[in-house]
């Protein structure tokens, strides 16, 4: 039986998983990246399992259905801390991060062995824009190329050239909210001229991010500074890993994630920094573009602000940090390159503060204003700043735009901490956060 032999072999392959990154799903995906036998892929066409990690707000269920239907047969879906779509009544749901890799592998193997049927198509298979051509040649019958045979006008040069003196036709597309290169939840309407971004209109703000619970505790009572700083370093390392993976530096992305996973005050960043510099990450990949002026940088806050030369860090108001002789690190350029230099410098600083604070057993003192890794949390939580990219991205090439986007931390901070336990139940799902998402 050649076929069964083939499917037995296929069952042993590593599991190609396309992750839909919902609200609060990132932590599980970081763990999956380090799991042998699971491969997170960038395109739904390359996957055999659709993993919906975290809740998806109801108004984006249509987009989710479209992604679902893009997976080629046979495929299965898995819902991690997320309510399956109503049509997929029998879908597998997992809430335990430790059980996730095992469930993924079992699902893949059952799929290949034919023990589990492929997930059904949710949307009718008809073209979104049906053929509307007129005449023998289907050109629409309105002049030479004015017709709309697929319900869409031909790409025409409607906008002026903004960068290179080459006038190409522009093409308008809607991206997101599950595109793996964009922050989770970010949706945008983008006009491209060749690979040049001509206009970028953000339509959905990215999902609010959940910080580690230590930051929320620090708002209520003093917490050990060492713990706070390690959580901060971990957050930045995970963001760095995303950018490194995007830049094709898989091995350093993994190194960064591993460092984040086993982070302790004795961890050292020098090795990673040296390898990053040596392989030419700063010279070949990051750009001197994506420059934020003072106003925009202040709007984004956090790393982006300090990379633009603003010495704003709420930690300097905390007396305990004062005893550690804390002064904020800043860069001057404010571009993509500077933001990554700043991130690395802040990770190093956090590790150093953690070491000192652990020795001296220091606790944070100020609770009404803390500096989260995303930005200052004084009167209110750091809010969504995705509006800045509408001005920032036009004029950049696609690659530069994606690199810039990865270097910016734009999402609002969620009111729920990361890894909400089972008692909070469905909270990270469609309920509370979805409402918050709409408010944002």
């Amino acid at each position: 039986m050649a076929v069964s032999w083939l499917s037995r072999l296929a069952a042993q392959s590593s599991v190609p998983v396309f992750p839909v990154r919902g609200i609060q799903g990132e932590a599980a995906l970081h763990r999956l990246t380090l799991t042998p036998g699971v491969e997170l892929v960038d395109s739904p066409r390359h996957a055999s399992i659709l993993l919906v990690a975290g809740g998806v707000p109801p108004d984006q269920h249509d987009a989710l259905r479209r992604v679902h239907d893009q997976l080629p047969n046979p495929f299965a879906t898995l819902w991690y801390r997320s309510e399956p779509l109503a049509e997929l009544a029998s879908a597998t749901r997992v809430d335990d991060p430790d059980a996730l890799p095992g469930t993924l592998m079992t699902a893949h193997q059952e799929l290949m062995r034919g023990k589990r049927g492929s997930s059904p198509r949710l949307l009718p298979d008809e073209p979104p824009n049906p053929w509307e051509g007129l005449g023998d040649d289907g050109h629409g019958g309105e002049g030479m190329m004015g017709g709309v045979p697929y319900g869409r006008p031909m790409a025409m040069n409607m906008h002026d050239d903004i960068r290179d003196g080459l006038t190409l036709d522009s093409l308008t597309v809607t991206l997101g909210p599950f595109l793996p290169m964009l922050p989770p939840g970010l949706g945008a309407k983008v006009t491209l001229q060749g690979d040049l971004v001509q206009s970028w209109i953000t339509q959905h703000a990215p999902y609010p991010i959940a910080l580690e619970s230590v930051f929320l505790e620090a708002r209520e009572h003093p917490v050990p500074i060492a713990e706070l700083e390690l959580a901060r370093a971990r957050y930045h390392l995970q963001r760095l890993a995303f950018a490194l993976r995007l830049a094709g530096l898989e091995r350093l992305a993994l190194e960064s994630l591993r460092l984040a996973q086993g982070l302790s005050p004795d961890s050292r960043l020098e090795g990673l920094r040296r390898r990053l510099t040596r392989c030419g990450f700063f010279r070949l990949t990051t750009t001197g573009r994506g420059w934020l002026d003072e106003t925009l940088a202040r709007r984004v806050g956090g790393v982006a602000a300090r990379a633009a030369g603003l010495e704003e860090d709420l930690r300097s108001q905390d007396a305990a940090y004062g005893r550690l002789k804390f002064t904020p690190v800043v860069q001057s350029d404010g571009d993509t390159n500077a933001r990554w230099c700043q991130t690395l410098a802040e990770i190093e600083q956090s590790l150093q503060l953690a070491r000192q604070a652990e020795r001296e057993g220091l606790y944070s003192e100020t609770t009404e204003a803390i500096e989260t890794p995303r930005g200052p949390w004084g009167e209110q939580r750091p809010g969504d700043a995705s509006g800045v990219i509408d001005d920032l991205l036009p004029g950049l090439e696609w690659d530069e735009a994606m690199t810039t986007l990865a270097s910016l931390d734009l999402a609002a901070v969620s009111e729920w901490p990361q890894d909400v336990t089972q008692e909070l139940g469905e909270a990270p799902g469609d309920g509370a956060d979805a409402a918050e998402e709409r408010r944002a």
């Binding site: 040649d137 790409a155 050239d161 522009s170």
Partner: protein, 203 residues
């Protein structure tokens, strides 16, 4: 000169391919497809040239035409972006006259080919086509040709780099300012001064 049967079969297949793809160039509905059909026609003729032992010319045909057709396809897309020929088009005028002219030319040339007597002087057996072409083309002045070629190419690249400042990737307005719609008017297809506050350009 007699060729083995297998060469004749190959020739027939290639001739059909060349003619059919040449004809498809003008009846496909997308210009990108048209340029690649033309490329197929060129490649078929190139292989026939190799069969005729013009090995350099046949192979040169492949790569010259591949690049040329690629540029052509890109120019099409530049002027009308049309992935996969989504919006088909028919752009033909004076159709009947053109068909008549094409057929007439084929008949005349075909008649000449069939009816006139050409001398039957096949290639001498000891001829090395590539070396003979090289000698004819360059003679003893190979070095001069090669250095002239490199100098010319360097000049071209230099001129492009200089005239566009930082080329496609920077301020290029000076190098490629299109002329105005009326004499002395504003340049066509250029952004208005002052909009798109351009810090991302100058940084």
């Amino acid at each position: 000169m007699d060729y083995p049967l297998i060469v004749d079969i190959f020739f027939l297949l290639l001739a059909t391919l060349a003619v059919v793809s040449g004809w498809r160039v003008f009846c496909t509905d997308s210009m990108v497809r048209a340029s690649f059909f033309l490329l197929v026609s060129f490649i078929a003729v190139g292989v026939i040239m190799i069969l005729l032992t013009a090995e350099y010319l046949g192979v040169a045909m492949f790569f010259m035409m591949a690049v040329e057709m690629m540029v052509m396809a890109i120019f099409m897309v530049m002027f009308m972006m049309n992935p996969a020929g989504l919006n088909p088009m028919m752009m033909v005028h004076q159709h009947k006259f053109s068909i008549a002219a094409g057929v007439a030319i084929f008949v005349v040339l075909g008649g000449v080919a069939l009816l006139s007597e050409f001398p039957d002087n096949p290639l001498p057996a000891d001829l090395d086509p590539v070396a003979s072409l090289g000698n004819e083309l360059l003679g003893d002045s190979m070095l001069i040709f090669e250095s002239a070629g490199i100098v010319l190419l360097t000049t071209m690249i230099g001129v492009v780099v200089l005239s566009s400042h930082r080329g496609r990737y920077g301020a290029a307005e000076e190098g490629s300012m299109p002329p105005g719609l009326e004499p002395g008017g504003d340049p066509a297809g250029m952004p208005e001064e002052g909009d798109e506050g351009g810090h991302h350009h100058c940084h």
